[in-house]
């Protein structure tokens, strides 16, 4: 698309590392071959994905405009860049930033790329990546060359690879850390990048580092490998090492990573990560991507067997110098300050808003006289001009570096404290002085229906609405509520990390009176601290437009009824999920379409809402179908299963979850008047035949995985259950039920108009 694409390669000769320059030449040639029809769609899709070039919503060339579903008439017509993905359709470029660390020159390059190839915005993600949206595939090699010229690679930013290696952004300056994990995260990222042992995974693989157990900054418990810095006394000296966790992950069904080793030495860090990768590559699921993450392998083998296999693999690895060569510089590694330490002198002339900002966005460092300053970015978005401004202040106040946080903000470190008023004034001037970092106003959201192909509801629209509300109410928000976290995902895939929020939401849809209505499942009781220490459970689905009311109601009740120093998690546990659900019951009602059509549109989207962007039901009317009653009854059953789970009745929870799935499957069969006996075997058989084998039930992107949850649950109906397996089964029942709602919605949708 860019007129200059043909000239950049020449302009950047000598400025890119040789291996990256060569890779990008190859990628450009692959693009040319694809245009000539000489590369298979699937092969090309995996090729670009491994370089971080994703598809984006509507890239199949169809979009519902609120009235009718239309074809998008791109100039390249039927040329594709992957299965069902049109060549000209805008895509997303993910840029992995190991441990979230950027320098001023890189910030300026990101600004240039956001302006020239995207929409002027760089989006920071919950895994310390940067994403550019609305990028044309033919601009991608040039974009990546310009990144390579500032030492950034997008290689393995997507695909079945080791994704961005993340780390606590306070590493090196934190009061409570054991030691700075930065050099270890960096070494791990580059050791595994392109490593032959990480090229044959069935699914993605995520690694995170944290300097301590207590805080949330590294979120190690939600990763395939989580590493927490620890030290021990050994032979009279302090020895560095890591607590090693494995098999965690959010996704549709979240798994907590398990403690694999209480202490691995720093020398064993890289070989053990490599060994774990080899076990995963060898034994992990390859055919069914829905069960291919390492968490499923650990659960299948059991922790002890998995550990045994990793130890065997480690023992068989040929020695690699790189395992330890980086260690000679590790202890000397330290980011340095630009300016001498100083103390803040509060003066009456401090800029307006400074104190409020300082209260929430500034924290003391371990090093006296220095502080960290958080640049709050609503929804993780920053403009090109703001990126340049951040580069300027990084050069002026610190030694040019900054970190992306998992809460989608930017963290400046090594700020000499007396510089704070001047720094704030400069940030404020550029629209970057927003207070409220790490408060309830600092809402996290994935892209959702804005740009993600999987989005069901508008996570960013809702996050924007809640953010505006809490910023407006900032002064009057009770202290007990101020520190709560809200995290929102547009679907069940958890990119917004809703499972570990105090108040989490994920997008679902409901059919009401023949219309699709955007909803969010409310998840309460997740734990952000202790590296994502506990996952919440669903309370019930609330219409999108009533989520702000739901948030107000829940937080108001917490303020009114909490006991002394009672945390939000403890409060939710004490009043119980049944009471939480009751509290929201009236908010779940949806007024008829003609009484209030606003419920039938999503936040920040004027179009009539459609399920999966597939259209308004053909049989729109005011008659409630019996299936809606039946599916509502199943939701009640899932909720009862959750209550059993909370009460420690794991067998009852599992049994009820299985029954709810069976009833939901029967509801679909009944709705289509497909004959079956009222027996589990008959329901499963008919459901498989009518909905699974025909692929009618298949989620457009998840395929048949939700049906597989159902089949597996029925096959193992007599299995014994503990807290973990029962929890998982309840989650799977909820997801199967959502899939039943979606299937019903899709089958009600209208056809595509050309």
């Amino acid at each position: 698309m860019k007129a200059s694409n043909g000239f950049w390669r020449e302009a950047l000769i000598g400025r890119m590392p040789g291996y990256l320059a060569k890779e990008l030449d190859i990628f450009e040639n692959e693009i040319a071959l694809k245009k000539q029809g000489k590369i298979d769609d699937k092969v090309f899709a995996e090729t670009r994905l491994r370089r971080g070039a994703y598809g984006q919503r509507y890239d199949n060339g169809e979009r519902h405009d609120g009235r009718v579903k239309r074809k998008l008439a791109y100039p390249a017509a039927s040329l594709t860049k992957g299965p069902n993905t049109l060549w000209d359709a805008p895509g997303m470029q993910r840029i992995k930033i190991p441990f979230g660390g950027l320098n001023a020159e890189q910030l300026e390059t990101l600004a240039e790329l956001a302006e020239e190839y995207s929409d002027g915005i760089a989006h920071l993600t919950t895994r310390q990546d940067v994403q550019l949206h609305f990028v044309h595939i033919e601009d991608v090699p040039t974009l990546q060359r310009r990144l390579a010229a500032v030492n950034i690679t997008t290689r393995e930013a997507c695909g079945n690879t080791v994704r961005n290696v993340t780390a606590c952004p306070y590493a090196g300056v934190c009061m409570g850390e054991s030691f700075d994990v930065t050099p270890y995260a960096k070494a791990t990222a580059y050791f595994l990048l392109g490593h032959p042992d990480t090229q044959n995974f069935g699914r993605k693989f995520k690694i995170a580092f944290s300097g301590c157990r207590e805080n949330a900054c590294g979120l190690t418990r939600i990763h395939d490998i989580g590493l927490i810095a620890v030290t021990r006394q050994f032979s009279g000296r302090t020895q560095r090492g890591f607590e090693m966790y494995g098999g965690g992950g959010l996704g549709t069904v979240p798994y907590q990573a398990k403690l694999m080793e209480e202490f691995i030495t720093e020398e064993e860090l890289l070989p053990l990560c490599q060994a774990m990768g080899r076990v995963f590559a060898r034994l992990g699921e390859k055919k069914n991507r829905n069960t291919a993450r390492m968490k499923f392998l650990v659960a299948k083998l059991g922790l002890e067997e998995f550990k045994r296999l990793v130890a065997l693999e480690r023992a068989s690895l040929p020695h690699d110098e790189r395992w330890t060569s980086y260690l000679q510089d590790v202890e000397r590694y330290e980011e340095k300050a630009l300016k001498p330490p100083s103390l803040l002198q509060i003066r009456p002339s401090a800029p307006a808003g400074f104190e409020e900002w300082r209260k929430t966005n500034v924290a003391p460092q371990r090093q006296p006289g220095y502080v960290t300053a958080m640049v709050t970015l609503p929804l993780g978005d920053i403009t090109a001009a703001q990126l340049r401004k951040v580069a300027d202040v990084c050069r002026k106040y610190v030694k040019e570096t900054i970190r992306i946080t998992v809460e989608q903000n930017l963290l400046m470190r090594w700020v000499s404290e007396a510089d704070l008023p001047a720094l704030f004034a400069e940030l404020e001037d550029a629209g970057l002085g927003q207070p409220g970092a790490g408060t309830i106003a600092d809402v996290t959201a994935c892209p959702g229906t804005d740009t993600c192909k999987l989005g069901i509801s508008s996570s960013r629209g809702l996050a924007g609405e809640l953010g505006r509300h809490f910023m407006k109410e900032n002064g009057s928000v009770d202290e007990a509520v101020r520190g709560l976290r809200i995290k929102i995902s547009g679907c069940f895939n958890s990119c917004g990390q809703h499972h570990i929020a105090d108040l989490g939401f994920y997008g679902v849809s409901r059919n009401k009176n023949g219309y699709a209505v955007p909803h969010f499942q409310v998840i309460l009781g997740g734990q952000w601290t202790e590296n994502g220490g506990a996952y919440g459970l669903a309370i019930g689905a609330v219409p999108s437009k009533r989520i702000p009311d739901a948030v107000n109601r829940i937080t108001s009740r917490y303020v009114a009824e909490r006991q002394a120093n009672e945390s939000f998690q403890d409060f939710v546990r004490r009043i119980g999920k049944a009471e939480c659900k009751k509290m929201l019951d009236d908010l779940t009602r949806v007024p008829p379409h003609d009484a209030d059509p606003s419920f039938y549109t999503d936040w920040a989207d004027a179009r009539e809402y459609t399920l999966g962007d597939m259209g308004v039901g053909e049989c729109a009317g005011e008659v409630v179908s019996p299936i809606e009653f039946a599916l509502t009854a199943c939701e009640r059953e899932v909720f009862e299963a959750q209550l059993h789970l909370d009460g420690g009745e794991f067998e009852a929870a599992a049994r009820t979850a299985c029954e709810s799935m069976l009833d939901a499957a029967a509801a679909l069969l009944d709705w289509k008047m497909l004959p079956h006996e009222k027996l589990p075997g008959s329901i499963v058989e008919q459901f498989r035949k009518q909905f699974y084998d025909t692929q009618i039930f298949f989620d457009p992107f998840g395929g048949g995985k939700f049906a597989q949850y159902f089949f597996a649950a029925q096959e193992n109906v007599s299995a014994r259950h503990d807290a973990d397996t029962a929890h998982r089964l309840v989650d799977e029942a909820q997801l199967f039920l959502e899939a039943c709602h979606s299937c019903y919605g899709r089958m009600m949708a209208q056809p595509v108009a050309v």
Binding site: A3, Y74, P75, E112, L379, D605
Partner: protein, 218 residues
């Protein structure tokens, strides 16, 4: 920027931002249904795809109508509301045609927005002040050399619109894109300028007698 590259200077990917005046009554949220309607009604020849809401970004893109060949936005960058037209698709290297195309698209969008029910009587653009940005740092780096290469093209174009009654100012931060701020010597609305553009040629000049001036800010 090498001399060899300087030979490649082109007027491509033209962005035009026309500023709004008296924006107190404008609620940017109203742009969301308006832009969705533009997609539904296919109001222009370009392929319109989707609407992006960036109201949460201070001094950001505001509300953005994403297209294939170009984006339109009610843009808030540098804290000033305006209609920004961003030509994405490459075209032939014809400076006058490329400037004319971008201006016509931007002015048409301004006029259309002013007439939308959500904005009627609230949103008014002043086509006497706007910015022209060339969104390609390789073909048009923000340097004096680029300006010297393009000066005649720009002056010819703006003279045809305004006669000599305008000034051009080129902010000089080399990290930014090549940008020219254009100020006419008197107020002019989008419709008037659009008509002048459609007539084309020097006879369409709106202001006849003041001297044009070029300055550079750094």
């Amino acid at each position: 920027m090498t001399a060899e590259m300087a030979g490649r200077v082109q007027v491509q990917h033209v962005n035009v931002k026309i500023f709004a005046e008296d924006t107190a009554g404008v609620d940017l949220a109203e742009a969301i249904p308006v832009f969705h309607r533009w997609i539904q009604e296919s109001v222009c020849e370009e392929l319109l795809i989707d609407v992006a809401d960036y109201r949460h970004v201070p001094a950001g893109p505001g509300v953005l109508l994403v297209g294939h060949e170009a984006n339109y936005s009610l843009d808030l960058s540098e804290w000033r509301l305006g209609l920004l037209y961003n030509r994405k698709a490459a075209t032939d290297d014809n400076p006058r045609e490329n400037l004319t195309q971008a201006f016509r698209a931007a002015l048409t969008a301004c006029q259309r927005l002013e007439q939308e029910p959500e904005f009627r009587g609230k949103l008014k653009f002043n086509a006497a002040e706007y910015e022209v940005i060339l969104n390609d740092r390789l073909l048009a780096p923000n340097t004096e050399a680029t300006w010297q290469a393009l000066k005649a093209d720009f002056e010819n174009f703006f003279s045809s619109l305004y006669g000599v009654g305008y000034t051009l100012d080129r902010p000089g931060d080399p990290r930014e894109r090549f940008r020219v701020v254009v100020k006419a010597s008197g107020a002019v609305d989008a419709l008037t300028l659009l008509q002048a553009l459609d007539r084309g040629g020097r006879s369409a000049a709106l202001f006849g007698h003041s001297l044009s001036r070029v300055s550079q800010r750094s």
